[in-house]
Symmetry: C2
Subunit: 427 residues, 2 copies
């Protein structure tokens, strides 16, 4: 089929008539599918069920150092779990604090603490006229929601194939004192799936921030979340690179096992320089006596070590891969050459990013919803929920079965085509 | 023996010589005991071990409503767990959000959020010249640490047998707009063990705060933590009383199962009015996708309901009671009539409060440490760690065995006597 842009009005109307029929057929099925969030599917959750057996009523509940995980203590996490998370994050154990079930929560805490108490002694952000964060786009809506909540001005930075537009990042960070942070998902980025190149990581490390309290929020959410054994992205260690570049305190790294063990019942961690840690500790130990160490022990006993964790992730990949491939196959079959959409083919992570013709994303999401298919809201991948192009849609293939995912993608494709034709007819 | 105050110098010196010997004997034993914190003892932890069996690798992981506890969702807690915590807190389920493993963390979050975003739309506290909290003393050091951390000025309020000095509370709250909160442990107070009378609770509810953003931080930490079946304290429901008095939004109530199931691996909750909840929700849902629902399910499946929880607490009481009684028996035997100390005889909670002769608490704690007995630091029960009388010492009998507790109390008594004599000799 030829590109829609090259069709005349009659051809478009003919296409539309066919698609309207198809839409009605789909609508009549009364399906209900949700691809809004990166929720692991039932088969993935089943993979982690044996973890619930490793600790039971007769287990030895002591850490390797002999501390009782059932009682208060070890505010920064039990040693063996700090080691496990350090290995997952590819940093030293000394730089890691293991926290609760949510890395998002650590990020929120880090921002709100900076609002009230500044960063390592700097002026509290709430006392400043203006605080800005750089936001590579498209990006993760929950990051943007945190900064929005605290009235931090968000600046869109285009995200390329190898990472954020570093010319722009350098221009902002090195010249604008009100720029205090940047949200990064450096590996298998949410939603485009790209990973930062070595050069990009090094340029991050070599930033010369105008603001002493500028920090990189390095959310390594998909550190070991590969889809293909033979095609694994590797990224440089930003903590090490920052240290080499003379900026040891410039980065906070975050990770969790939400998509390794259980979402909501996993463990999370922050890794940062010892100097940053000293500052964090004052607040973390005021906030809580300690996190759930029984769950930390459960994770360590189940995975044993980073190799066990990686083995587990291979099984997860085997379950996720067919879903990603189903989406991409159908997008290719149905949309290739039509000039009405492009999409990423990620090698890891949780999302496929779809770019519709400008001005079509909201209409596509609305049409999908009519068919009972809930997508992430259009605009969600941009600060303030505003996609200037109204083009980007995040597809989360993890939750449905591969069959449902294929079905859902067929519905999605119909909506993409219809919305594009309507746009062209009204142009 | 006659009161120390009535002894002449020679009598005191004779006493001292005996005590110095006893001290040396104890010192030679080289003991190491820690009564610094309210940590449950090993036998208490053992009581909760069967909880680790109720969820295993073959369990049905669905809530009563059919939600999968292993996945994202239910940000405010699974329904049956909200009900359990509501019953524990004696409030309606609709007013409860179940959170993570730490009620202290909810309190910290509540204070820091008010710093940055105010209370239900009020001016953020960080924008105000001065913010004050009332602190009934002696009280809980971790409460005071939160307000100290955020530069909130703390005002000591004497805690009587029936609760805080309400004349003073009313005077401050009803007239001083900078008074934004008060820390309360209304039942089996930490450390004195007193509970607020109905009249005190009603006077709280009838406050007419000068500040619209004044809130009572009602930490119901020991709601079901009775020591004696036949002598259980009951307190009025502050949420209901505030509603009746036309102050429905004036209170945040907190609780946790840290001393019911496992410290650090329990669940916590906040209860407040629906209007407060609407405001909290905006931040709580930005902060986290949801708390550990598998652990919530574990708690519900183990306790079944509030009756099961209360049964469990009877077993805890049976383990704790002998420890409290050992301390009190020895204090009575050794110190009665000497006029150098008084102590509480709590009917619940986790602490015994000891008041030494003014100016002696630090010396007693230091001497105990010399013997290998770690107590809560002198002054810890007061804001800024400053006991104006240097008199109050918090005794935490839960962690040692009853035998160790008796031994520790004998050591403690020697130190009390020695410090008092030294004080009198130097007067």
């Amino acid at each position: 089929m030829k590109p829609y842009m090259q069709m005349d009005r009659d051809e478009l109307l003919a296409q539309k008539a066919e698609l309207d029929e198809a839409f009605k057929t789909e609508e009549a099925k009364g399906l209900s599918l949700n691809m809004a969030r990166g929720k692991p599917g039932a088969s993935q959750l089943a993979l982690s069920m044996p973890m619930l057996d490793v600790i039971n009523g007769h287990s030895d509940m002591k850490t390797l150092l002999g501390n009782d995980t059932r009682n208060y203590g070890d505010w920064d996490g039990i040693g063996e779990c700090r080691q496990l998370m350090a290995d997952m994050m590819e940093v030293k154990k000394a730089n890691v604090v293991v926290c609760g079930n949510s890395s998002l929560n650590i990020m929120y805490d880090t921002v709100i603490r900076s609002m009230v108490k500044g960063v390592n002694g700097s002026t509290p952000w709430c006392k400043l006229e203006k605080v800005k964060f750089l936001c590579p786009v498209p990006g993760y809506d929950r990051h943007f929601k945190i900064t929005e909540t605290f009235g931090i001005e968000m600046v869109n930075i285009p995200l390329h194939e190898d990472g954020p537009d570093m010319d722009l990042v350098e221009q902002y960070v090195n010249n604008d004192e009100s720029v205090k942070g940047i949200w990064c998902v450096p590996k298998y980025s949410n939603p485009t799936g790209i990973s930062y190149s070595d050069e990009v990581v090094r340029r991050f490390a070599r930033l010369q921030p105008k603001a002493e309290d500028f920090r990189i929020f390095w959310d390594n959410a998909y550190a070991i979340h590969h889809l293909y054994e033979e095609e694994q992205h590797q990224i440089l260690n930003i903590l090490e690179e920052c240290e080499k570049a003379g900026n040891p305190n410039m980065v906070y790294m975050f990770a969790s096992t939400s998509k390794v063990s259980f979402p909501g019942s996993g463990i999370s961690a922050i890794a940062t320089s010892l100097e940053n840690m000293e500052f964090l500790k004052k607040f973390m130990t005021t906030q809580i006596i300690g996190h759930d160490k029984i769950n930390q022990l459960r994770h360590v006993r189940f995975f044993r070590n980073i190799d066990g964790m990686k083995e587990h992730m291979k099984k997860q990949a085997n379950l996720l891969r067919p879903k990603f491939e189903a989406v991409i196959r159908i997008l290719e079959e149905e949309l290739s050459g039509l000039g009405i959409g492009s999409w990423t083919e990620p090698k890891g992570g949780y999302f496929i990013s779809f770019d519709a013709m400008p001005g079509c994303a909201s209409a596509i999401v609305a049409k999908c919803e009519q068919l009972g298919l809930v997508l992430t809201g259009a605009g969600a991948t941009f600060p303030y929920g505003k996609d200037p192009q109204d083009s980007n849609i995040r597809i989360a293939p993890s939750f449905p079965t591969p069959e449902e995912m294929a079905e859902a993608t067929r519905m999605f494709v119909i909506c993409v085509k219809l919305a594009s034709i309507e746009k062209l007819l009204n142009a």
